[in-house]
């Protein structure tokens, strides 16, 4: 995707990326990013098992893009709700709440 695309989308699931500010206390220091918050995104879903099998970590990652450069990198998350409170742009789906399913994140 290009940083100038009017509605940048996730290459893994096609959902519109949402704009968020990354935590002030980190070295991102409130920087903006675009990320896929679709809990059914195959990249995010597969991530849970990948991280557990490769690194023993109960975490996954969201597809994230730097809006200035267009560069993508995985953004670590420990839960489906992580970073949702930092979304500033509600996007087409209104920044919906995480899917609530029994079994919780990734399992």
């Amino acid at each position: 995707m290009s940083p100038t695309d009017p509605q940048p989308t996730c290459p893994h699931c096609g959902e519109v990326l949402l704009r968020l500010t990354l935590p002030e206390e980190t070295s991102w220091g409130g920087e903006e990013a675009l990320a896929c918050f679709n809990d059914s995104c195959p990249y995010f879903v597969r991530g849970w098992q990948w991280m557990e099998s490769q690194f023993g970590a109960k975490a996954s990652y969201r597809y994230r893009v730097d809006p200035a450069s267009g560069r993508a990198m995985p953004l670590a998350v420990w839960s489906r709700s992580a970073l949702r409170d930092r979304i500033v742009d509600q996007g087409a789906d209104g920044g919906r709440e995480p899917d609530i399913e029994s079994g919780g994140d990734g399992s």
Binding site: P23, T26, F55, W78, R80, S81, G103, G104
Partner: protein, 629 residues
């Protein structure tokens, strides 16, 4: 009195230290030395597998620029460091490390360090510059590569370096003693690379008695680099720029993961978040108060203002963060499962890095999902590789450094043949573990080039000089042995002072007069002058240190090293007539930042002939244009 044998070792490059910078130096030096038939020797006072600041492990690599993927540029990193240090940084040195650090991280991965990656091989970030790792054995992996490169026969572990050996104006070696055997060492070299870490426990720590010695920043870093470079006559820089981290109180557990991963808030006793309520204060520290991310010392300062106003304790709301995540997980069963996972993550975050925090939680029945934990500003550290900046003034690289910052070989101090890396080199903050390793590599390559080009002659040390150094080194043992019978309480004797007692005196005077914890990090010229007066008495007392055994002898010399770091620090704070890093120290008599007169380095030198201190300014020369700050 025991008879100590003397061992003389001749080498080409002598690497002092066994931490990240020294390990980087080892692998790089071994490569270039082999090409030129040179010998490299490394000396560590501990054992390399677990020595230095990364001993316990880490959960993240804190400097990775991502140049090959175009994530960031070298200038981006320079801007970040310059802003965080309120304008005081050597841009050429920071840039030099930033352009090489990625290759160091790739080496770590090649050597077996598990760095988190997604299914496509992209590194998983914790922050803009931070990568997540499974790092309990980080140091072991890095040390193994260094040991393999050098060869066991070239490594001396458990040997404590006391000070430099000079040949005229050139650093030609070092002397020290085994902390296990009755052996005095003289290392003679054509060039010396010092990477013996920074210093902690110069100030009275929050954790006292049995609680003292919490690792993070490690208590075994006692100022050996600073002492070595000062005693050699090298110019030093940024000796006023200490670092104060905000950590979980008393056990120094890191707070970063809680802010980022658990989305935790820090609130005062009234439930207020000082980062929000105190935000207007940042205007007083413009332009740096307006940059993002907010400089570490200013973040500290906002919290300190709450504490000084009596609004403490400050709590990390771990229970709130965990409960919030867990309850969004679905039904009760899912929430319970998530809760257990999060609780395990919270513990593991500490177990990977600061075991003491996990122990403190266990000892005080803290369940992070049920109870908040207090956070507090820790006592000052001297850690030029982190968010401090103290260290030796070193040459930059020829292609980046302005002419005032270059004198022949990158990372060489103002003393010929003495190279510095990691916490030993100053004004190049935010290197952390990976950057220190990269800087070690840079310094080592330059040192080998120095040896090949300059081909200095080996130092000539006569036997009398060696005997004098040996006598000075073992004096505390001799004194204790000769006079211990004078009293029945070995800690109380008019003839000597034990290292522990000496350390307490040092820590008390620094705490009370040089802006320690109990002074709320505040000082002034009258207080600093009093501190210097007491340091002068302490220096006299240093001649009467007594040690019962080799381990205590090491402690004696460590505290002498700390004392010199302390004096450099006090003099530099006094010389800089402003407050620039209010969250590190605050001068009540000079409470504002003065960009007009003090946008400069404060440098100093201890004249080895006269023992007089020389304090002076050096200009900050911008290599990169400033980005809007």
């Amino acid at each position: 009195m025991v008879d100590f044998k003397t061992v003389e070792v001749e080498t080409d490059l002598l690497i002092l230290g066994g931490g990240m910078a020294a390990c980087g130096a080892a692998v790089e030096a071994a490569y270039w030395a082999k090409k030129h038939g040179l010998k490299v020797t490394l000396v560590d006072k501990a054992a390399m597998d677990r020595s230095g600041a990364v001993a316990m492990g880490l959960s993240a690599i804190n400097q990775y620029v991502g140049l090959r993927d175009g994530q960031n540029t070298v200038k981006d990193y320079v801007d970040y460091v310059r802003n965080d240090l309120m304008g005081i940084t050597r841009e050429d040195l920071v840039a030099n490390i930033a352009r090489h650090v990625d290759s160091t991280v790739h080496l770590f991965e090649k050597w077996g360090l598990p760095i988190w990656k997604d299914e496509q091989g992209a590194y998983v970030h914790e922050g803009r510059w931070q990568l997540m790792i499974n790092g309990e054995s980080y140091k072991v992996v890095v040390a193994e590569a260094a040991k393999n490169a050098l060869g066991k026969e070239n490594i001396y572990e458990r040997v404590f370096i006391v000070g430099p050996i000079m040949d005229g104006d050139r650093c030609a070696g070092a002397y020290g003693f085994s902390v296990r055997e009755n052996t005095f060492y003289v290392f003679k070299a054509k060039a010396v690379l010092t990477a013996m870490g920074g210093a902690v426990h110069v100030f009275k720590p929050r954790s006292s008695g049995e609680g003292q010695g919490r690792a993070w920043y490690p208590p075994w870093n006692a100022g050996a680099s600073a002492y070595f470079t000062l005693k050699s006559g090298a110019e030093m820089t940024c000796q006023e720029v200490r670092f104060i981290p905000v950590r979980f109180k008393d056990a120094y557990g890191p707070v970063g993961a809680w802010f980022l991963l658990f989305k935790s808030r820090a609130t005062n006793a009234l439930g207020e978040n000082y980062m929000e309520t105190r935000k207007p204060e940042l205007d007083n520290w413009a332009p740096y108060g307006h940059v993002k991310p907010v400089p570490a010392n200013l973040r500290n300062y906002l919290g300190m203002l709450d504490v000084m106003e009596g609004k403490g304790p400050i709590y990390m709301r771990t229970e709130e963060a965990i409960q919030k995540i867990a309850t969004s997980s679905g039904d009760e069963k899912a929430a319970k499962k998530k809760l257990k996972e999060l609780e395990a993550e919270a513990w593991e975050d500490f177990l990977d890095m600061t075991i003491s925090q996990a122990i403190l939680w266990a000892a005080t029945n803290v369940s992070p999902d049920e109870k908040s934990s207090e956070i507090a500003a820790a006592e000052p550290y001297f850690i030029g590789s982190h968010s401090g900046a103290s260290g030796a003034w070193v040459s930059g690289p020829e292609d980046l450094a302005p002419k005032d910052y270059f004198w022949g070989y990158e990372n060489m101090s103002t003393v010929r043949g003495l190279f510095c890396a990691g916490d030993a080199s100053g004004a190049s903050s935010h290197k952390f573990s990976s950057g220190s390793h990269a800087e070690g590599r840079i310094a080592a390559k330059a040192a080998i080039r120095f040896i090949v080009k300059e081909n200095p002659a080996a130092a000539q040390l006569d036997a009398a000089k060696v005997e004098a150094l040996k006598a000075e080194t073992y004096r505390p043992l001799t004194l204790f042995d000769q006079t211990k019978g004078a009293t029945t309480q070995p800690d109380v004797n008019p003839n000597y002072i034990r290292p522990k007692m000496f350390q307490m005196r040092l820590q008390k005077l620094m705490d009370e007069y040089a802006g320690g914890v109990t002074s709320q990090f505040t000082t002034s010229e009258p207080l600093l002058k009093k501190g210097l007066e007491l340091l002068a008495f302490l220096k006299e007392d240093a001649a009467k240190l007594g040690a019962a055994d080799l381990h205590e002898l090491m402690r004696a010399w460590e505290n002498v090293h700390r004392m010199y770091q302390a004096e450099a620090h006090v003099r530099a704070i006094m010389f800089r007539e402003e407050t620039r890093w209010p969250g590190y120290y605050f001068r009540s008599d000079k409470p504002k930042m003065d960009e007009q007169n003090w946008h400069c380095f404060v440098n100093c030198r201890l004249n080895p002939t006269t023992s007089e201190w020389e304090m002076f300014k050096r200009p900050i020369i911008h290599v990169f244009p400033k980005a809007g700050a």
